[in-house]
């Protein structure tokens, strides 16, 4: 076998690998990318029954355990809009009212049914998505309600 021929084989194999990887990646992307929305963004978004992530703050006084003992109801807010969420299962150790939260699931009848509530590992830490969403909502508020005094505590 000549060197040239070997190189050709190798190149062919490498291209095949690359092609397969690209094809796999593209098909997988189409089905499996999960978008992140804040409650405000959700107002203008048609999500259908797609799986997505919802993030914001857990609204103060909104956390309720249902009678079955394992389902929790709460509301996620970005200080402008809120969305009701239900979750069956054990909440992460750092789930708390007034703290940032990211949940994954889908909308059903106006309620977000979370499949997963993502754990935060450090209580001083705010998920960047949530921080951005809050900042945006604050901006939104500032431009639409200029007369109202500040209700959002700045970080």
């Amino acid at each position: 076998m000549t060197r040239k021929k070997r190189r050709l084989y190798m190149l062919g194999l490498a291209l095949l690998g690359l092609g397969t990887a690209t094809a796999l990646t593209l098909t997988a992307f189409e089905d499996n990318i999960v978008f992140f929305f804040s409650p405000t963004q959700l107002q203008t978004q048609d999500v259908g029954d797609r799986n997505f992530r919802l993030g914001g703050l857990v609204e103060e006084g909104s956390v309720k355990k249902l009678p079955d003992g394992v389902t929790t109801e709460f509301r996620v807010t970005d200080t402008v809009n809120t969305v009701a969420v239900t979750y069956r299962g054990q909440l992460p150790d750092l789930f708390r009212e007034g703290q940032g939260v990211v949940t994954e699931g889908r909308m059903a009848g106006g309620v977000f049914q979370a499949r997963e509530v993502l754990a935060k590992h450090d209580e001083n830490y705010m998920p960047p998505e949530v921080a951005d969403a809050l900042k945006e909502a604050e901006h939104f508020k500032a431009t639409t309600q200029p007369l109202k005094t500040e209700t959002v505590k700045k970080e």
Partner: protein
């Protein structure tokens, strides 16, 4: 006083590193033996200085010197001693200190033990290692100084994140870092070889032990992290395809490829430019992992604090290291002489296939991990890429990889007979079929079809590797005593390969078993109630309060029985740490080595009369970590091979007698 001493030592180390990265390089270029000779004492001095600095920081943590801000932020006087010591690396600044300790230790190891390395290569390797040291020491001193004082000193500290106060996680970072940083050796050797313009089998023999050591410790580090996630996070999962996990998995994949391609360089003097490229990419991925984890752009337990300056600094370091070495590569690689020829069906061919598949796998993980970050940077929306994506892209690449992994070792170098190799694998094929049949029978067709594919791959990898070993020692074809002698005399690297490949099969079995056939029950239970999971009945006997050194815990007592027989008493805890105001879940696990019964105690509910309890049955899950430990052991056994003894390999054909320093 002692923290200042540490700070001073660290600054000195930076200057030594500067000298180390310049002088030997000039010496090697001009053939000045005295200048090249600077490399050895410099590398050793740098290690000693960094050790002094690290020791000073450890001392501050051990005696709880709360005038040091790093100690205040991450320690508490009541914290157990183990976590005072491990807490040194349980925070950003300290973990970077650990990083440079490892880095300088590797550099000093070359200086001390690399006696038979040609002097120019040795000088250049140590110089490149010194450059990496300069980068990271600057990073620590400029953005992450652990020795900053607080005045006045607070009375007590803020305690370490309780999730990190765990033996599994105490040892996870040192192993992981030894792996990451170990790949810096392969990188330094690659860059030095590019500067020299020469790569030969002897070079590969010098690089391989470092790569093996790095790979083995990285395997252990990843396994420890996964084990920790399994029992500490209370969800019973062992791998989430989380970006932080991917950050350590990518260098592992690339390092695995490097490990195999270096064999081809060593045995056949081929694939040289590719191996150099892999060495550069593997360390670049390690650096990228550090960037992803330390910059705070990812949400995780590792993102201790968000400081944009740090992220930018590491990004610049990554740019210089990767960009610079790739530039050098593009200039120098074409001048490297190509080596031996081989047919596609050959041992070399199979190792090329291994490399192609591993690189493809690395690429898919890379895309999935970075795509959301790119979208975010370009302001195109926020997305996340989760396990379904990685399962859909990674598994199809992994399947042919495992199949080929078994066949490859049966092929001869240069040109081989595939049918011959396959016929010698009949016993493994039979064993695989039997395993799949047993699995199908036990589960009665439950679980996805992919699970049976997983079982088949696991069995194929395990029995195929054993079959290869049997072939080598000619088991049952010569008297057993002769086989025994052959086995004893086999090179350790052959033993290492068999062990690593076979345990890979065991790990796959574990992954398959728990992913496909786990059972989960979540219930609100009152003391006295009983729940059932996978045939085990688990009764909640009582709950009490236990006082720990720096926490209080609700401790549940659960009795596990099966068919009326007592199996185990489990005591899961829910700990609350008053200083950090955090609660952690300490799951209780009963393992039979074939499966785990897992109980995690959750929040109280229904006005405190009941507790949310998670019960799991995880079939085969311990095998994941047994498999990983076996793979690590395989790497270590291979490392003890005679020809890798550090300093042993010598170039066979030395073109010119090497210059000796006049002493």
């Amino acid at each position: 006083m002692i923290p200042e001493l540490g700070h001073y030592a660290l600054v000195l180390a930076l200057f030594v590193a500067l000298v180390q990265s310049g002088v030997p390089l000039v010496g090697a270029a001009t053939g000045n033996a005295a200048w090249m000779g600077v490399a050895r004492p410099a590398a050793i001095a740098q290690l000693l200085l960094v050790l002094v600095a690290y020791g000073a920081l450890t001392w501050a943590h051990v005696v709880s010197d709360f005038s040091v801000s790093n100690v205040v932020a991450n320690s508490h006087s009541l914290k157990p001693m183990l976590y005072k010591v491990s807490g040194v690396w349980g925070n950003h600044e300290g973990s970077m200190m650990l990083w440079v300790v490892m880095l300088t230790a590797f550099g000093a190891a070359v200086a001390l033990f690399g006696r038979n390395l040609p002097p120019t290569l040795k000088a250049r390797v140590i110089a490149v290692q010194g450059m990496i040291g300069v980068g990271f020491l600057l990073f620590i001193l400029v953005t992450s100084n652990p020795f900053i004082r607080v005045i006045p000193a607070p009375l007590d500290g803020n305690d370490l994140n309780p999730l990190l106060q765990d033996p599994g996680l105490a040892f996870h970072p040192p192993f992981l870092y030894a792996g990451y940083v170990g790949f810096s050796m392969a990188f330094s050797f690659a860059v030095a070889a590019l500067i020299e313009g020469r790569v030969d089998p002897a070079w590969a023999r010098w690089v391989r032990p470092w790569t093996l050591a790095a790979w083995s410790t990285l395997t252990a580090g990843i396994a420890l992290g996964s084990w920790w996630a399994y029992y500490e996070l209370g969800w019973g999962g062992w791998w989430y395809w989380d970006p932080v996990e991917n950050a350590s998995f990518m260098p592992w994949l690339a390092g695995t490829a490097l490990l195999h391609s270096a064999i081809v360089v060593e045995k056949r003097d081929a694939l040289k430019t590719w191996t150099i490229l892999l060495a550069i990419l593997t360390f670049s991925l390690s650096l990228m992992g550090t960037f992803l984890v330390r910059s705070g752009i990812l949400t995780s337990v590792h993102a201790f604090a968000v400081d944009p300056a740090r992220g930018v600094f590491i990004l610049v370091l990554l740019g210089i290291a990767t960009g610079g070495s790739l530039l050098l590569y593009s200039l120098r690689a074409p001048t490297l002489k190509a080596g031996g020829l081989f047919a596609p069906i050959s041992r070399e061919g199979s190792l090329v296939l291994n490399n192609l598949l591993l690189s493809t796998a690395t690429a898919t993980v890379f895309i999935g991990t970075l795509y959301p970050l790119f979208l975010d940077v370009l302001n195109l929306g926020k997305v996340s890429v989760g396990p379904p994506f990685f399962n859909a892209t990674f598994i199809p690449v992994a399947i042919p990889m495992i199949i080929a992994m078994v066949v490859g070792p049966f092929l001869a170098w240069k040109r081989a007979d595939l049918t011959g190799a396959l016929t010698r694998l009949w016993s493994a094929a039979v064993a695989t079929t039997v395993c799949v049949a047993i699995a199908a029978y036990i589960t009665n067709g439950g679980g996805p079809l992919l699970a049976l594919v997983g079982v088949a791959l696991a069995a194929w990898a395990f029995f195929g590797s054993l079959a290869e070993f049997a072939e080598r020692i000619r088991l049952f074809r010569v008297p057993l005593k002769d086989s025994w002698n052959r086995a004893v005399n086999l090179p350790r690297s052959a033993w290492g390969m068999t062990i690593a490949h076979a345990f890979m099969g065991i790990a796959i079995a574990g992954m398959t078993g728990t992913s496909a056939w786990q059972s989960e029950v979540i219930e609100a239970m009152k003391p006295g109630q009983t729940a059932t999971v996978a045939g085990y009945s688990i009764s909640f006997d009582s709950i009490g309060v236990r006082q720990g050194p720096n926490f209080t815990a609700d401790e549940g007592v659960f009795t596990v029985t099966k068919d009326g027989k007592h199996i185990a008493t489990l005591t899961p805890e829910r700990r609350s740490y008053p200083v950090t105001r955090m609660t952690t879940t300490e799951a209780a696990i009963h393992t039979t080595w074939l499966s785990d019964v897992y109980v995690a105690l959750g929040d109280p509910t229904q006005n405190g009369t009941a507790w949310i309890v998670r019960l799991y049955h995880h079939p085969l899950v311990p095998w994941i970590w047994i498999g990983a430990m076996g793979m690590m052991a395989g790497g270590l056994v291979s490392l003890t091979d005679r020809r890798f003894r550090i300093g042993v390999p010598e170039r066979r054909r030395t073109p010119k007698p090497a210059m000796q320093p006049a002493e």
